[in-house]
């Protein structure tokens, strides 16, 4: 049932038509955002394109091309491929679990030679796709039935469990949050969220016992950064110093003393926002946030314009996923939430994060181009 009908998908539109209706505005926004990353990486390397900025640029433009290809592919193909993607993702998570590299203290990567893939990142998109497909034609009666919500919940919890054992608390929580938003906009009853929220609160002490020491440490350190000023709390403290010392107008490009003098850890990846804000100040920070807000609004606009549930849910879910990245990363470096190791998409150095972000935007654009496509109603 979920796999849909077997009829051959025939494109309604020509390639030229699709290219004309491509969301070029979004492409420009994404390029500007990525350029912020290039500048910051250039600065992070003390005014050098290597080792980060040049590779990031190549990566961005290659992956952006990939995103455009994804956008051109008919939405019905994605509708059909949702479940296969999901299972492939699940398989990759297993592979990582079995023989993944040990990197950054956790098993998260598959090395494909050219690029290292973090299956959990791709899994997030697959989960959104599969949920969008499941809720595509859900009726109000179905949505209010608890039994109807159990299969998608299992679809979510399976990868979440796998990601959590990697262990990658941040990503698994993000998958859960994305899923909650998907359930919510699909029309699940409010009381489910109320009861669920209460249940989670009750579970916190139990979950605490299952957390790894370093995860506990992160939470404790977040609650009291002074607990360990030279250990785990060091990141938060130094990041706050860097941001705060930037002031309104910033220290100027290439003059971020905190970053350049290595007080700032992971400045090219998770803490790139800190570097940007230290050098460009409050205005730079607000501009970067505004850019992200426009991108997110654009994503929501795409979702609203879709004339099929799958597109709506997919576009909105992907937008949510993206916004979660942005929120968590920025909140983390400003000391609002614990350090969870979430990059700032398109800005932070790193292939996987960029790949998953651009796959997401590719799918969103596909939703936009094919907003009027007829999808099977089941």
């Amino acid at each position: 049932m979920i796999l849909g009908n077997k009829s051959v998908i025939q494109d309604d539109q020509s390639i030229m038509f699709k290219l004309l209706h491509m969301n070029w505005f979004l492409v420009i926004l994404l390029t500007i955002l990525a350029s912020v990353g290039f500048l910051s990486l250039y600065s992070a390397a003390n005014g050098s394109l290597s080792p980060w900025a040049s590779r990031q640029m190549v990566r961005f433009f290659v992956l952006l091309g990939g995103a455009l290809v994804i956008a051109l592919i008919d939405i019905r193909w994605w509708y059909r491929l949702a479940l296969p993607c999901y299972f492939i993702g699940l398989l990759m998570l297993f592979v990582v679990e079995m023989m993944g590299h040990v990197g950054m203290g956790a098993q998260r990567w598959i090395n494909l030679g050219v690029i290292q893939i973090q299956p959990s990142e791709l899994m997030k998109i697959a989960v959104i796709m599969v949920l969008a497909k499941y809720f595509h034609v859900a009726t109000s009666q179905e949505m209010s039935r608890l039994s109807f919500l159990v299969p998608p919940a299992i679809l979510v919890l399976l990868p979440v469990a796998l990601v959590m054992t990697q262990p990658d608390l941040g990503t698994s929580l993000m998958i859960v949050m994305c899923a909650i938003v998907m359930f919510f906009i699909a029309g699940a009853s409010i009381w489910i969220f109320v009861v669920g929220g209460a249940g989670v609160l009750a579970m916190i002490p139990v979950a605490w016992m299952f957390l790894h020491d370093y995860q506990k440490g992160r939470v404790l350190t977040f609650l009291n950064p002074e607990r360990d000023p030279f250990g785990a709390g060091y990141h938060i403290t130094q990041s706050k110093i860097a941001i705060g010392s930037g002031g309104i107008s910033g220290k100027g490009f290439m003059n971020g003393s905190q970053s350049h003098l290595n007080f700032l850890p992971e400045k090219q990846t998770d803490f790139i926002f800190t570097l940007w804000v230290e050098e460009w100040g409050l205005w730079g920070g607000l501009c970067l946030m505004a850019l992200n807000a426009i991108i997110i609004l654009y994503g929501i606009w795409i979702a609203f314009r879709c004339r099929h549930g799958f597109g709506r849910l997919l576009a909105f879910g992907l937008t949510t996923n993206y916004s979660l990245y942005v929120f968590i990363n920025i909140a983390m470096v400003m000391g609002l939430i614990p350090v969870v190791g979430v990059p700032l998409p398109l800005v932070s150095y790193g292939g996987t994060a960029m790949m998953s972000a651009l796959i997401g935007f590719g799918l969103m654009m596909s939703c936009s181009i094919h907003k009027d496509s007829k999808l099977p109603r089941m």
Binding site: V137, A138, T139, S140, M143, V181, F184, I185, A186, G187, Q238, K240, I241, A242, I243, G244, S245, G246, G247, I248, S257, Q258, L261, N262, F263, V277, G281, L282, G285, L286, M289, A293, I296, L297, I300, A303, F304, G309, R312, L313, F316, T320, S323, F327, I330, A331, M334, L336, R377
Partner: protein, 649 residues
């Protein structure tokens, strides 16, 4: 066409059959869209709220707390280090260093960079030799001072110890090797009293100059080091260095160079000084000064016994300190200026000059010396038991006839003598530029009344006329006196400080006292004959080199009254206790015609001026003329480039 029509029909049929479900599907789609719109709007609002929170947080960090974090980041990256200024050097008139700075490697600890002081120090102890007591001292000190101030753990590190610390750097957080300048006095004991020494400041030495916080900071404790402490110290510099997260210095941000202390150029001739010091060492306790009779420049000024000032720089041991204090020859005293002695017969020039000035005597005045002089019921002896016979002024000075001066003094009274003594620089401080000068004493009738409430007795005038009794003078005053007698009657004053950096500090032109040239000539003739006269008391101390002959006057000052018994037994000085022997004095000048150098020598308990002091003066004046420092144009640092400039090039 049929096919199409067929299929159309089929569709229509189908549409009819599905009408109901289709309607419900449309309703469902409507429901989904509405639900989606409502809830997406809620989520969108939530995202907007989160953006607002993030923006507010950013503004809070950067605007409200911006300054605080800016300070923190400055602290993060900027270490402010104080640069100790080089203490100014002290050099002699030829630029020969008397006090210089040498390098000393020390281990220091910065408390704020160490978690556990005790542990860090114990670890250091396993590498280099550190006393337990020193570790205790460091820990106590750490509680008293600011945590960023380095505390000295040990000094005088050898190269081996320095490398041991450097190699173990990763395990010795907060412990550093520090190079410091240490004061060094190359002439050791020869310049100890004059140049002085530096030491760790005591509470009362502190002035609040930030430089005092530096480890190993020293202040001048005595001599020039003390008198010119502020000038020599200079001002501290500041170095702001950027450090990275590991504390490694990345680059200098700003460097305000320390302002080196000023150099002092002294009038001293270090070689002559050493010579004098060595010459004095043949006696148990002695002092001597050589000075320019015209300019007042002191070329040498020595006090024996002396001490090694270097032993004070790093703190002298209790034992060594007590030994210095307990020594009856008082090695710590700077005898040329703080030793006060009865001038004895060296005072006779004063009495003679006063007599000539007051008219009590003239060239033709003759006095018969029977070996003693009776005043009322008192009998005053001449040093020559059986008398000198008939004496004129020249002979009286040359042979040092006491009776001649007894009579002269009684003729005019003590106040006339005191007046002349004052003109010659006795009885008052000369305003010498080394601290510790004593004023000596020139009694007057008024003085006695004020001091003791008694009337001055004529007998006291008699005693005072030969420099005994209440009269006291320092060697510095005596050399000034003789200088004024032979320089044409100018009120020369001795000085040592030549230049502070390039600024002259001295005065060479001295006003006339207003003495009669003829009187001075008479006095000088007498003093000449002390040496060159057949009966001169110091005829045994002639300088054998032609053109360098000296003149002068011997003096033998009683330390205690000579009893009749001793006089009758003709007790030899060598046979009595050292402390009870007479002081031996000599004041002199050279060369005989047109004198340039004046000299005073006091050999404490030396027995007699002619046998103990005159030979010393002869050697000193001879050496002074051979070296002839007066012929050398006096320039800052001896005309050599300044030490700082030398160091930096």
């Amino acid at each position: 066409m049929i096919e199409i029509g067929k299929s159309k029909r089929k569709r229509l049929w189908k549409r009819k059959g599905l009408e109901k479900s289709r309607k419900s599907t449309a309703n469902q789609e409507n429901f989904r869209l509405q639900m989606f719109s409502r809830r997406a709007f809620v989520v969108g609002l939530g995202q907007g709220a989160i953006f607002s929170i993030l923006g507010a947080r950013l503004a809070w960090l950067q605007v409200a707390q911006g300054e605080k974090y800016l300070n923190l980041s400055e602290n993060n990256r900027v270490n402010v280090l104080m640069i100790a200024p080089d203490r100014g050097q002290i050099v002699d008139r030829y630029g020969v260093p008397l006090a210089i700075n040498i390098r000393d490697y020390r281990a220091v600890i910065i408390p704020e960079k160490v978690d556990d002081m005790q542990m860090a120090l114990t670890h250091l102890q396993s590498l280099i030799d550190v006393k337990d007591s020193d570790i205790k001292k460091v820990i106590t000190q750490a509680k008293k001072t600011a945590r960023f101030v380095p505390i000295e753990i040990r000094r005088n590190l050898s190269w081996e110890e320095v490398s041991k610390i450097e190699v173990n750097r990763p395990h010795l957080a907060g412990i550093y090797v520090d190079v410091a300048n240490v004061r060094y006095y190359p002439f050791l004991d020869a310049t100890a009293h004059m140049v002085g020494y530096v030491g760790t400041p005591s509470q009362k030495d502190l002035t609040g100059n930030p430089v005092e916080l530096l480890p190993g900071f020293k202040v001048g404790k005595t001599g020039f080091e003390k008198a010119y402490d502020e000038t020599l110290q200079g001002g501290p510099g500041q170095r702001e260095v950027e450090v990275n997260a590991t504390g490694r210095e990345v680059r200098d941000l700003t460097v305000n160079k320390a302002k080196s202390g000023s150099d002092l150029t002294l009038s001293i001739d270090a070689e002559l000084q050493s010579f004098v010091q060595e010459r004095l060492a043949k006696h148990r306790s002695a002092s001597a000064i050589v000075m320019d009779v015209h300019t007042g420049a002191v070329y040498a000024m020595a006090s024996h016994p002396s001490f090694d000032p270097n032993s004070f720089v790093n703190g002298i041991s209790h034992q060594a300190w007590n030994e210095l204090l307990g020594n009856i020859a008082h090695p710590l005293n700077n005898k040329p200026i703080d030793g006060q002695y009865p001038p004895g017969s060296t005072f006779k020039m004063v009495t003679a000059l006063a007599g000539l000035q007051s008219g009590a005597i003239t060239t033709g005045t003759l006095v018969k010396c029977p070996g003693h002089f009776t005043l009322g019921r008192d009998r005053f002896h001449c040093w020559k038991r059986w008398g000198h016979g008939t004496m004129n002024l020249t002979n009286a000075l040359a042979e040092s006839c006491d009776v001649y001066f007894y009579k002269t003094a009684l003729e005019m009274g003590i106040d006339k003598i005191a007046e002349t003594a004052k003109q010659l620089g006795l009885g008052d401080k000369l305003g010498f530029d080394i601290q510790g000068e004593r004023s000596g004493l020139m009694p007057t009738e008024k003085w006695k009344r004020a001091r003791l409430g008694e009337k001055w007795q004529p007998g006291e005038t008699v005693v005072a006329s030969i420099g005994q009794g209440a009269v006291q003078a320092t060697p510095l005053q005596l050399v000034t006196m003789v200088a004024r007698l032979v320089n044409g009657g100018r009120a020369v004053k001795p000085w040592v400080t030549g230049y502070v950096d390039n600024l002259p500090q001295y005065n060479e032109k001295w006003p006339s006292i207003g003495l009669d040239d003829y009187h001075l000539k008479l006095i000088k003739r007498g003093m000449d004959r002390v040496i060159v006269g057949d009966q001169g008391t110091a005829r045994g101390s002639r300088i054998p080199e032609e053109g360098m002959q000296m003149g002068g006057k011997t003096g033998t000052a009683q330390v205690r009254r000579i009893s009749k018994q001793e006089r009758d037994d003709e007790v030899k000085q060598e046979d009595i206790d050292w402390q009870h022997r007479h002081h031996a004095l000599f004041v002199g000048y050279a060369p005989l015609d047109n004198p340039r150098y004046a000299c005073s020598v006091v050999v404490e308990h030396g027995g007699s001026g002619s046998s103990a002091a005159a030979p010393v003066a002869r050697d000193i004046l001879w050496e002074a003329q051979k070296r002839d420092p007066a012929s050398n144009a006096f320039k800052p640092n001896g005309g050599l480039p300044r030490s700082h400039e030398r160091d930096r090039s």
